[in-house]
Subunit: 400 residues, 2 copies
């Protein structure tokens, strides 16, 4: 343990040793994951009696070395009781933030040496960062200006309650008290909440870095909670430490979309926005892409920039008898949106995404109707790695 | 799994089942900790092959029941391989937020059924909430007004860099654009950072609830990072996913305290504060208590309310030859602070705190010098349970 040059406060040191000694007794390999190059991650875990360790995180070419015997072991049938210090090498496809956890003898286990986690719906994973192309934007910049992320609550007349919302204001927002800014509304997917884009999506870091490089206009980013049945994310709502639900009522029944102006009104009346169509964008991932498509088409005078990231785009799988009015005649409404004038309709989808075919159909409809759009096709599927990359490609196109 | 009334999007359901099926295969007991009354917590863990489970969290009267055999088992020598479903009962002293984790066969393991954690320095723990006296204030209120927590960065001339700071603004701050508010500066202890009071300290919840009940004046709460060698908390600083250090340079060499006016200036120039002594308070825990004592005594024209929570209070354990000027003649400086006029000097300490004797000495000095203070002695030691309780007792005394 590093002892600082000025920590002459012996009583603090005593407490620290007391607090940390329990950890030391465990004699852990003191190492969070190490990165080699832009594709190899070396994990370390001490599991003295484990018969089986799974590395849960979708990695390729996993190899396990028993540090005590220096032998390669099979993660499904470990020798166990031979010290139990393992190094597990795994390959990744590209620089990114990766989520992982272990399953040790059937028990999901977070890495005891890595105190950084992210929650994806109801499951916690450890985070490991591989620097490189794109992912450089996900890191906190050392010398760049920093915007602020804040979590106010707005009153929702629809819900008759306060609802929590995440708002990024760009560097200089507090100091330049006369300047007004354009606004991107950024929507999460099913199972997500107002913390998804700031945390998993690395919005503050991506915006700080890209604004600092002059690649992106300084803007406000508004990330509401798209689950109209919830006031706030799990753990920070009045429901307390509930078990998060992937499915919630009223996520795709049109209520969120039809009530969206109350969010825009709140933002325009509480922040120094450019409250006009050409200074507003809306984008979302998966369910949030569907929300963005519906909201932009329902309110054609509100947004000049629309982004659909791995979006659900087809309401035909709904029960047609109960299909909410707001979801009917989508094709006509989108034509109307274009006729009203927009600057960007951006579609991003992964080749392996289960919503790929739906996006093929949307593009076919747009082409038949003579409506231009920008298309970005990536590898991979329905995953945060893609949504961060889409955001990095979408942002520079806004408000220019 | 609960399926909502409107989730007719089969493609989402398919993905969800795919995502969640891995969890289901593990056949976990689907239960986060359950609370009975205000003192019994019932933990559930499935560890199919475990020979030993420790419940790390300082609980009393721990009892383990093997659900499969309905027998009481010894956590140090479990039968193992008999299903491995355990219920562990434990008693707590009072309603509070409790931190816990398991150690299963030597591996620190977070509860797979509880996605809520808090980081204390470098260790993650699960959180379990026991409602009742005091702890009712730690819960997100359902009908109360909600303030906002935000994380801007201010420029530190001392450090020549941006530094992250946590700021709570009370309910109505955004709407009442003419109103100015008093400010509490709230400082963390060694090993902490700007996230300690908002997260472990439950500041947004305590303030929302107590302001809503009219027990506390609406105020701004400013929680800076007291580690002058760091720009921000672990994980959100340019250092990335570092292993957090308990010891850091420049935590107690006087630099933080002497540079404190730059924080006050930032807050007064960027927030609608009442920028005057009678509308400013400063309090801190442990090292932050020492900081608060030093800052208030160094700048006797700045703060009318001072709070020392389990504070380090004696600089005599420093090497006297290198004792920074700002720490010298503390007793004279505190006398001068009182002479200049203050409204509250509040001292809270636990009977079992390792800093108890130091606080006895401080109170003796104050009494000898004829200086009045408010004293609150609790049970327990150097722990967040006490610091939350002290805050609940300190806040109603401010700005009245």
């Amino acid at each position: 343990m590093k002892v600082s040059d000025d920590s002459t406060f012996n009583f603090f040191r005593t407490t620290a040793i007391f607090i940390l000694s329990f950890e030391s007794c465990l004699n852990l390999i003191a190492a969070p994951p190490q990165i080699e190059g832009d594709s190899l991650i070396r994990f370390s875990i001490k599991a003295p009696h484990a018969k089986s360790i799974k590395l849960d995180g979708g990695f390729d070419n996993i190899k396990c070395i028993n540090i005590n015997t220096n032998c390669i072991e099979n993660l499904d049938s470990l020798s166990g009781d031979l010290g139990g210090d393992y190094q597990i090498e795994a390959l990744v496809k590209r620089p990114d933030l990766y989520l992982y956890r272990y399953i040790i003898d059937g028990v999901p286990t977070l890495d005891p040496e890595n105190c950084y986690t992210l929650r994806d719906v109801r499951t916690l994973y450890n985070v490991v960062y591989v620097p490189g192309v794109d992912s450089e934007y996900y890191k906190v910049g050392g010398t760049v200006g920093h915007g602020a992320i804040s979590y106010p609550w707005y009153y929702s007349d629809t819900m008759k309650a306060d609802r929590r919302i995440s708002i990024y204001t760009p560097p200089g927002y507090e100091s330049n008290s006369d300047r007004r800014y354009p606004v991107l509304y950024l929507l999460h997917g099913m199972g997500g909440d107002e913390t998804a884009w700031p945390d998993l999506g690395r919005v503050p870091q991506i915006l700080d870095n890209m604004i600092s490089e002059g690649k992106v206009e300084p803007m406000i980013v508004v990330m509401p909670n798209g689950n109209i049945a919830r006031q706030a994310a799990p753990g920070v709502s009045p429901l307390g430490y509930e078990v998060p639900d992937f499915y919630l009522p009223h996520t795709m029944d049109g209520v969120f979309e039809s009530s969206f102006p109350e969010i825009v009104n709140y933002v325009d009346s509480h922040y120094r926005t450019l409250a006009e169509k050409r200074s507003r964008a809306i984008a979302g991932l998966s369910m949030g892409g569907f929300h963005s498509m519906t909201i932009s088409a329902t309110y054609p005078d509100k947004f000049d920039y629309i982004g659909l990231f791995s979006a659900a785009t087809d309401a035909s799988s709904f029960n047609k008898e109960t299909l909410p009015e707001i979801y009917k005649n989508r094709r006509n409404k989108v034509r109307n949106l274009y006729n009203n004038g927009i600057k960007l309709y951006w579609i991003g989808i992964g080749k392996e995404d289960f919503l790929y075919d739906m996006n093929v159909q949307l593009r076919k409809d747009l082409a038949e109707d003579g409506l231009e759009y920008t298309y970005y096709e990536s590898d991979g599927g329905h995953e945060w790695g893609n949504w961060r990359r889409y955001l990095v490609r979408f942002l520079p196109l806004l408000f220019r």
